[in-house]
């Protein structure tokens, strides 16, 4: 389905970047890393070329309706995220979201449950839980507008920021 295609795309993107291509991720839902801006602000700093080539991981994972179970492809992606997080100790926000189906307050709780599932998995992978902040937006901040199942699938998500 679309969501697995998208996650697959994310992984393919990772591989492509690792092979030396530049980032071509066009999903643009939220929180793209802004290495470009850092360069503009600090033009005299010598940027580590190695660091610039670090792949940009797909930062959105998707869920089934009324579910917070991590899918196998989500686990694979989160293992890559965990590897990276263990190396850098910055704070990370895990934003849980739900689709428009069901009630708003219940969806707020569901978004939190999804983000908690991601957090728990990352902690199991050795990430320091103290650096992970969970916040749920429920259905209040959809990534895409519309009522088709494809749109709803894109909105049942956790964004790793």
């Amino acid at each position: 389905m679309l969501k697995s295609v998208k996650t697959g795309l994310g992984l393919a993107c990772v591989l492509a970047v690792m092979a030396g291509c530049s980032n071509t991720d066009t999903t643009g839902t939220s929180g793209e890393q802004v290495t470009g801006n850092e360069l503009v602000e600090e033009p005299t700093v010598v940027v580590d070329v190695e660091e610039e080539q670090v792949a940009i991981l797909e930062n959105v994972v998707y869920f089934d309706f009324d579910q917070s179970l991590l899918k196998p492809e989500t686990r694979e992606l989160l293992i890559l995220h965990a590897d990276r997080m263990r190396g850098s100790m910055g704070a990370v926000r895990l934003e849980g979201h739900a689709d428009e189906l069901g009630t708003r307050e219940y969806n707020l709780a569901l978004g939190e449950r999804r983000a908690n599932a991601v957090r728990d998995f990352l902690v199991l992978q050795g990430v320091d839980g103290a650096n992970l902040e969970v916040i749920s937006y429920g259905e209040e901040r959809p990534a895409e507008i519309g009522s088709s199942e494809a749109v709803r699938a894109m909105n049942r998500r956790v964004v790793i920021n």
Partner: protein, 431 residues
């Protein structure tokens, strides 16, 4: 009428009046009961100068029509426009099948208006009452709604709720960014105005029982937090700032406490905050989602949504003992409970063959009834007289408000001409 008012005021006022008109919700009645009571509201007389800024008898007619229980006689069908009981020729109204007739006279006051109105029974050929309503210069609509309340109660025996208000959330795009507005309007959708604008989502507005304060959830701090706001003084206070969820605030019937949902202890649980002492008491202990609390009218128990049985269902929590009983068994998604003022009927969001509808359940018998036929219905909020409820639904891709009577006989939509509207909360009686 609105036009003639506009002629007399300066350009700036015209602009803001137009904006307000555009922001209003427009009533669109989609179904009514089979035999609504025919009633005629004869155009009222006005003994002051100029033209009144509002059509008072027209507002009363619209209120009665919107209740679904009345079929007001169109002005064009009236044979005469009596202004007082002595002008009424009952035979003329009997021919039209009119059961009741209302006459009225509006007089100017030092700063405002006085409406004297009469209700007559056509078949009994007698006057039922003559009453007066007074109001300030900006209160012509309030005067009309008050009169409609009196007429409605005299004929149906049910207290009218036309004078009540609602709050709701409007989402619109401003400068390419989503903007969230906490809105307030008369229950007929008129006089819609912003209470407060937010750049981050705002949700779950709830009225205090005194009708002067709201509680709601705002994401303005970057996290969900519960606020209370006094509508008169505009004083605002952030009540919670716990890690995790801070959601679903709901006032106890006596206004001294707020039930709410916090996940600070790991997962969403229901708490009760005593507003005078700031004491917070945890009410539920379960690893599942417990949310959407609402008080029973006696204040002794809460109903809430929990998926402790695997799917969202509605449960009742007795506060004194902590005992939890499951209330709903019909279907695999029942959530966001609200209780009718008499405590007998549960209203909820119910998934029915894949669509989300509003349903009622008689608490004693457990009998459930689906009230709506649309597909994304949510946030039911019951009128203080228990006759109707307001809810949010979709019309195409647009969020609109709609109303349905608790017996499903009467339905109307209140689409907004601007933005998406949702989460209506019907006010208590405001005296």
């Amino acid at each position: 009428m609105i036009k003639s008012l506009l002629k007399t005021v300066v350009a700036i006022v015209i602009t803001s009046a137009c904006l307000q008109a555009r922001a209003q919700l427009v009533v669109d009645i989609t179904s009514g009961i089979d035999d609504p009571t025919p009633i005629a509201v004869s155009p009222f007389s006005w003994s002051g100068s100029g033209v009144l800024p509002e059509d008072v008898s027209g507002i009363i007619s619209a209120d009665l029509r919107r209740s679904g229980l009345f079929a007001p006689v169109p002005k064009a069908d009236m044979l005469s426009f009596p202004k007082s009981p002595k002008d009424v020729v009952f035979r003329d109204w009997r021919i039209l099948g009119t059961e009741y007739i209302v006459t009225g006279r509006i007089e100017p006051q030092a700063s405002g208006y006085l409406l004297t109105f009469d209700l007559m029974n056509v078949f009994g050929q007698h006057k039922m009452f003559t009453r007066q309503v007074r109001g300030g210069q900006t209160q012509l609509r309030d005067i009309a709604h008050r009169a409609a309340d009196e007429i409605f109660e005299a004929v149906t025996g049910i207290r009218g709720a036309f004078s009540t208000e609602m709050v709701y959330v409007r989402e619109e795009t401003r400068g390419g960014k989503p903007s969230y507005v906490l809105m307030r309007a008369d229950i007929d959708g008129a006089r819609a105005r912003a209470i407060r604008r937010f750049e981050a989502p705002v949700m779950s507005p709830m009225w205090a029982p005194n009708g002067q304060e709201l509680a709601y959830v705002s994401f303005e701090t970057g996290r969900p937090a519960i606020f209370r706001e006094n509508l008169r003084t505009r004083e605002r206070q952030q009540l919670t700032n716990f890690k995790g969820l801070n959601s679903s605030p709901t006032w106890s019937p006596d206004g001294t406490k707020l039930a709410m949902v916090l996940s600070k202890d790991g997962n969403p649980e229901i708490y009760v905050l005593d507003l005078a002492s700031d004491q917070l008491t945890r009410m539920t202990r379960h690893f599942s989602i417990d949310t959407e609390p609402n008080w029973m009218p006696d204040g002794k128990s809460l109903v809430f949504t929990s998926d402790r049985g695997g799917k969202p269902q509605i449960y009742q929590l007795t506060l004194a003992t902590g005992q939890v009983d499951r209330l709903t068994f019909d279907g695999d998604y029942n959530a966001r409970p609200r209780i009718s003022p008499d405590g007998k009927t549960l209203v909820m969001v119910h998934r029915n063959r894949g669509t989300f509808t509003i349903a009622t359940m008689d608490i004693d018998s457990g009998r459930m009834r689906v009230l709506t036929e649309t597909t994304l219905d949510e946030s039911p909020s019951i009128a203080p007289n228990g006759a109707m409820l307001m809810y949010a639904t979709k019309l195409g891709d647009k969020g609109i408000l709609a109303a349905v009577s608790l017996d499903a006989g009467v339905k109307y939509n209140l689409p907004s001409q601007r933005g998406d509207v949702r989460e209506p909360a019907w006010s208590p009686y405001v005296d």
